[in-house]
């Protein structure tokens, strides 16, 4: 919300405070100043710019009020004139092309001289001929043979508005020779209004906050006027169908008025506040809304009478009927529904209550009699109306956040008074019609200093608390150390009971100043210590994977089914997803079901960045469960690797590509470091993977997931180098559950091991794991280690066979094994393997 500095000063004396100080005070009161726009006033001196300042400062020496005494034709140009201008000291001839001076051209000395803003050589102004605001410095020039070293300025050149049609004509009372900034200088505070502070979306609202913190009186505007018109009784009647929707509806009437341009000062204030001046009647409604926070609506009274067949109109407020239509004043025909509230008459809808007026009854240049409405509306309905129609308005902004019904009389009086004053015509009817079926009861809250101290940690005496609240117009009585606090009749954000107490404590803290509340350390009882084992183990897993050379990634959890389908074969049926009702991008419409699909996209994106990709992500996938609203959020671990085993380097000659066993080795190491036992790798069939290079990882009877080399058909769908892509997707929750709370160590052997190599010829399709298991079983407890070091296939051993060479270590915990003992173990192994697996010792 834009708060105009000069306007604010109508209601409070701000002398002695700089713009920066005011911005700081407002911000620390909860009215965050986002920007300060200066119009002519000086910017803060160098130093930390606490606030964003924009706009143009006017040099007091170079931009001043001057007087045009005569407008003369230019000898060589029809579209230019020469002004005889006086700056209070001497006369200058100033050249301009301003069309609004043509009417004075050649009529001799002006009976009433024109006061203008005059910029001298060297003045900084905005370039009037360029779009937007482009700074320029006024230079001496010769235009069509006439020397020019100064100019009379338009509003645009001074940064007041975009107006550049003609030069700005000042109030005739403006003192010639005075710095312009002393006459017209102003500033605009751009304030972000918090949702619970809608009472401050008005100039008076901001002034009231300042009055409370600066301890200076709030000056309310004078609402008195002479009601010269007839009594309003009998000229209009009001029916409220549902007081829940429309707690109050009030009208006043002004007759024989006319829309004319509003006074310059009013137009300037409206412009600076971000509203376009229209005419005195419309401007009055907008001005009073910005001033008080109560939106007004003006009807052309004659149109209402016409619609009522010449009789006194009856205004009826009610919910819209399904399918009812209204053309709003933005000339859009809108279809209504019962959530919307309408102001109607006997002939049908007139306006969309609280949001926008109807086209038919709006004020036009021909309007002479105005029926002025001040009402209050159910904010929920206004809000839903705006959402459904996607319609925003200044009135809707306020009504959708709640406007207190007691603001209506003030705003109505001010509106009528200003219409009359600014139009210079009209008689205001005596009295108002006020239908207020259910008067608002402002809550009364009891509060004790102890309750304040319990929340804030500072002990404040009851009288101090009362003083703080009274400064914001709360009615406070103190009795026996308890405060009875009644909310002021302009705010709806104070609740009842314990909520009301919290609301008041917030106001007390705000006014006392957050800065003044001393910082303390928590001294309350600590909660019981609870382990978060899932998190602890997950973090350990991440550390282990990073330690093994993998880069962690974190991807978007929103994706599309199509992107995930790249990892799946077409034959598989469609999957059910958690789907967005309002996606913002076609790329993000469902919650992912595959973590690997997300990681694969990262692989693809980085394929050209590096020759070695090794990534992992730990995070949830979202699996809908039939009969339940919420999905299972399954913690998952995905790993993908591709490219060189070691990055290319000047001293790294090995150009080996990672394969299945790099990934398997990594998983083995991970599970071993996590002390998970009974780990098993079994061949698996999963259409995502190469049928011969895919395994299932399990521990005991818990299946952790599948991994392997991606199926070439799947890999082809990704823009990746042709090297094998290794991938794994594991159930992270299960993995975490398998990690034992503690593990036991074995003593370091004291006696040396007997080392021996053993090459066994077996059938080609005998799995290595089976062979190793048999060796270990046969070897018994004295077989300390089994390590495969070579596999040989060739003519020597025959087709369909392979030779598996193991390095074995025999070791006893209590003595050094002798030759005989070692030979016994060896014989046992050979014999058992011959018997069970048909293995032959390779000669």
């Amino acid at each position: 919300m834009k708060i105009v500095y000069s306007w604010l000063q109508d209601y409070i004396d701000l002398s002695g405070y700089s713009l920066v100080e005011l911005a700081r005070i407002l911000t620390m009161t909860g009215l965050e100043v986002e920007e300060v726009q200066v119009i002519g006033l000086p910017m803060p001196a160098n130093g930390p710019l606490e606030f964003k300042f924009t706009g143009l400062s006017w040099d007091p020496e170079k931009i001043i009020v001057a007087r045009i005494d005569e407008v003369m034709p230019h000898p060589n140009a029809d579209r230019l004139v020469l002004c005889r201008l006086n700056d209070g000291q001497e006369e200058h001839i100033v050249l301009t092309g301003a069309p609004n001076l043509y009417e004075y051209k050649g009529i001799g000395p002006l009976p009433t001289p024109l006061k203008v803003a005059w910029a001298k050589e060297g003045a900084q102004i905005y370039d009037g001929h360029q779009p937007g605001q482009v700074l320029t410095t006024l230079k001496r020039a010769k235009i069509r043979g006439v020397e020019s070293y100064s100019m009379v300025c338009s509003e645009k050149e001074l940064g007041i508005s975009d107006e550049h049609e003609g030069i700005m004509i000042l109030d005739p009372e403006a003192p010639t020779g005075a710095p312009l900034r002393d006459v017209l200088g102003d500033a605009v505070f751009e304030i972000s209004i918090l949702p619970n502070m809608i009472r401050n979306a008005s100039v008076i609202g901001v002034a009231r906050e300042l009055s409370a913190v600066l301890n200076r009186p709030l000056r309310m505007p004078d609402t008195s006027f002479e009601a010269a018109g007839p009594a309003i009784d009998g000229m209009v009647s009001i029916q409220i169908v549902d007081p829940d929707l429309n707690p109050r509806f009030m009208v006043g009437l002004i007759q024989n008025t006319r829309p004319v341009p509003s006074p310059d000062k009013i137009q300037r204030r409206l412009t600076l506040a971000g509203m376009r001046p229209i005419n005195s009647l419309v401007d009055a409604t907008n001005y009073v809304m910005l001033e008080t926070g109560e939106p007004l609506h003006a009807f052309d009274y004659d149109k209402l009478v016409e619609r009522a067949g010449g009789k006194a109109p009856t205004i009826i407020t009610r919910a819209a009927k399904p399918g009812e239509k209204l053309t709003t004043l933005d000339e859009v025909e809108r279809e209504l529904d019962p959530v919307m509230i309408l102001v109607t008459d006997t002939a049908g809808p007139l306006s969309l209550a609280g949001v926008m007026g109807g086209l038919e009854s709006e004020v036009t240049p021909e309007t002479r009699n105005v029926l002025l409405e001040a009402a209050s509306w159910n904010f929920v309905n206004v809000r839903r109306t705006m959402n459904q129609l996607r319609l925003n308005s200044e009135a809707g902004y306020r009504f959708s956040r709640g406007v207190h019904p007691e603001l209506a009389p003030l705003a109505l009086q001010l509106g009528l008074k200003r219409m009359q004053a600014w139009s210079g015509a009209g008689e205001i009817a005596r009295g108002v019609v006020d239908n207020y079926p259910r008067p608002h009861v402002d809550p009364v809250v009891t509060l004790t200093p102890a309750e304040v101290a319990r929340q804030l940690g500072v002990e404040l005496p009851a009288e101090q608390i009362a003083g703080l609240l009274r400064s914001l117009d709360f009615e406070v009585s103190v009795e026996g150390g308890r405060l009875q606090v009644k909310a002021p009749p302009h705010r709806l954000d104070i609740g009842e009971g314990i909520v009301g107490k919290a609301d008041l404590i917030e106001e007390i803290a705000r006014l006392y100043g957050y800065d003044n509340i001393p910082e303390t350390r928590l001294s309350d009882e600590l909660p019981p210590a609870r382990a978060n084992r899932a998190l602890e183990v997950e973090e350990r897993i991440k550390d282990l994977l990073a330690g093994m050379g993998l880069q962690e990634v974190i991807t978007y959890r929103l994706t599309t089914p199509e992107r995930e389908a790249r990892l799946r074969l077409a034959e598989e049926g469609p999957l059910e997803y958690i789907r967005l009702a309002n996606p913002i991008s076609p790329e993000r419409v469902v919650m992912r079901r595959s973590l690997l699909a997300s990681v694969m996209e990262v692989m693809e994106r980085n394929a050209r960045v590096t020759d070695r990709l090794a990534l992992f992500e730990a995070g949830p996938v979202y699996l809908p469960v039939s009969g339940q609203d919420l999905p299972v959020e399954a913690e998952t671990l995905a790993i993908a690797m591709c490219g060189r085993r070691y990055p290319e380097d000047w001293n790294q000659p090995v150009d080996a590509r990672m394969d299945f066993f790099d990934l398997k080795g990594l998983l083995e190491a991970l599970l071993e470091d996590l002390h998970i036992e009974n780990v098993e790798f079994t061949p698996a069939a999963d259409p995502t993977y190469h049928p011969g290079k895919c395994a299932r990882l399990s521990a005991g009877d818990v299946v952790l997931g599948t991994f392997g080399e991606l199926h070439p058909e799947i890999q082809r769908r990704y823009d990746l180098p042709s090297a094998p892509v290794l991938a794994a997707e594991l159930d992270l929750s299960r993995l975490i559950e398998l990690v034992p709370e503690r593990f036991e160590t074995r003593p370091v052997p004291v006696y040396p091991a007997v080392l021996e190599d053993l090459a066994l010829v077996v059938d080609e399709d005998l799995p290595a794991a089976e062979l190793e298991r048999a060796i270990r079983q046969a070897g018994g407890p004295l077989l300390a280690d089994v390590r495969l070091f070579d596999i040989y296939r060739g003519e020597q051993i025959g087709a369909g066979k392979k030779s598996m060479a193991y390095s074995l270590a025999y070791q006893a915990p209590d003595h050094t094994l002798n030759e005989k003992e070692a030979a016994q173990i060896r014989q046992r192994i050979i014999k058992r393997l011959e018997h069970t697996l048909g293995a032959k010792l390779r000669g």
Binding site: R521, L522, M548, G549, D649
Partner: protein, 346 residues
């Protein structure tokens, strides 16, 4: 053979030996010299075998002298051996010199995502103050995300969150980690709580350098019978000092959240410019770091705590923003784009 002749021979053996040793340059030469001058057939050794042929009275003297010559040759060999080895080591070392300015062989390095790194720092600071991590779900109900947090339908405060709704009625993607407040309270009541609630949140927002549709949030929550706004200040200021520097200045500015009252924004003095004003703080000298406040009585009650007895505070921050400010990251989209050229800088 005369007496003198024998001693002259011994002298000659010694001199020849020493002279020959001078010529020896390497380990192989040393071996050859040892064979020639101290080996079984070396002249000095032959002198010993000739001893019995000498007159009896000469034998002790000659024997003694021969021993001296042998020892002298051995000592000379040892000394020369040291010299030769030192010289050859020198040569070897010189030949092994590498260009130490060549790039080193990089170990295979994996790294944690910057998000994980900043989260761990934040957790560590709060854990020292007795807070414990509590996680909750991403896909939430309207009830937990809004209604129980004092944000009824059509409440003006709903404008503060642009929400992704799912096709299931009443199911949405959480817009903040605050639903975790209700979850942790309902799991803990009536015990005191000090919890850290991290999690991915989602907002219906056009993606830009400053805004993402998905982002992390970390919320801290304290509930107990004796928790004040002063404690809130102490906790968030303590966090700021640990995170941004022991002497950093902070301020609390009134703000609004439906689930806290009083509410505040915490600003930290810009640690890039020290408060002088720079592009990072947009010239203001302050950085907005977190929103916080005393828990609203309605929320406490919805969590199962009697607001007449219990009080509490909550504070929430965006870890990406903290990471961005600390590491001068220009664009929030870097976080989930996962370009290795970005990730590998952490």
């Amino acid at each position: 053979m005369t007496e003198t002749q024998v001693f002259e021979d011994l002298e000659q053996i010694l001199q020849q030996g020493l002279a020959a040793l001078e010529e020896v340059k390497d380990e192989a030469g040393l071996q050859a010299w040892r064979t020639a001058h101290l080996g079984r057939s070396a002249p000095v050794m032959q002198m010993f075998s000739r001893l019995p042929q000498l007159p009896k009275e000469l034998r002790p003297q000659v024997g003694q002298r021969a021993n001296q010559v042998k020892q002298a040759l051995e000592a000379a060999l040892a000394e020369r051996g040291e010299q030769v080895r030192a010289a050859s080591l020198q040569q070897k070392l010189a030949s092994e010199r590498v260009d130490v300015t060549l790039p080193g062989r990089q170990p295979l390095r994996g790294r944690l995502h910057p998000e994980t790194q900043v989260l761990r720092r934040i957790f560590a600071v709060f854990e020292e103050m007795g807070f414990q991590v509590f996680r909750s779900r991403d896909v939430e109900t309207d009830e937990y995300n809004f209604e129980l947090l004092n944000i009824p339908a059509y409440h003006p405060a709903r404008d503060m969150w642009d929400t992704f709704y799912t096709t299931r009625p009443g199911v949405l993607l959480r817009t903040h980690t605050s639903p975790g407040q209700i979850h942790v309270m309902r799991a803990s009541a009536p015990e005191p709580i000090r919890a850290i609630l991290p999690g991915m949140c989602y907002r219906y927002e056009q993606v830009s350098a400053r805004h993402e549709t998905q982002f992390y949030q970390v919320e801290v929550l304290a509930v107990g019978k004796n928790i004040t706004f002063g404690d809130l200040k102490g906790t968030v200021n303590g966090f700021a000092r640990r995170m941004f520097g022991q002497n950093v200045r902070t301020r609390l500015r009134p703000s609004y959240f439906p689930f806290t009252e009083p509410s505040a924004e915490m600003d930290v003095e810009c640690f890039v410019c020290g408060g002088k004003g720079c592009p990072v703080c947009k010239g203001s000298g302050w950085l907005e770091i977190m929103g916080c406040g005393m828990m609203h009585p309605t929320v406490l009650r919805n969590g199962g705590y009697d607001p007449e007895v219990y009080s509490g505070f909550a504070a929430g921050m965006g870890p990406e923003r903290i990471s961005m400010l600390q590491s001068r990251i220009e664009d929030i989209r870097y976080f989930w784009a996962n370009d290795l050229r970005f990730l590998e800088q952490f």
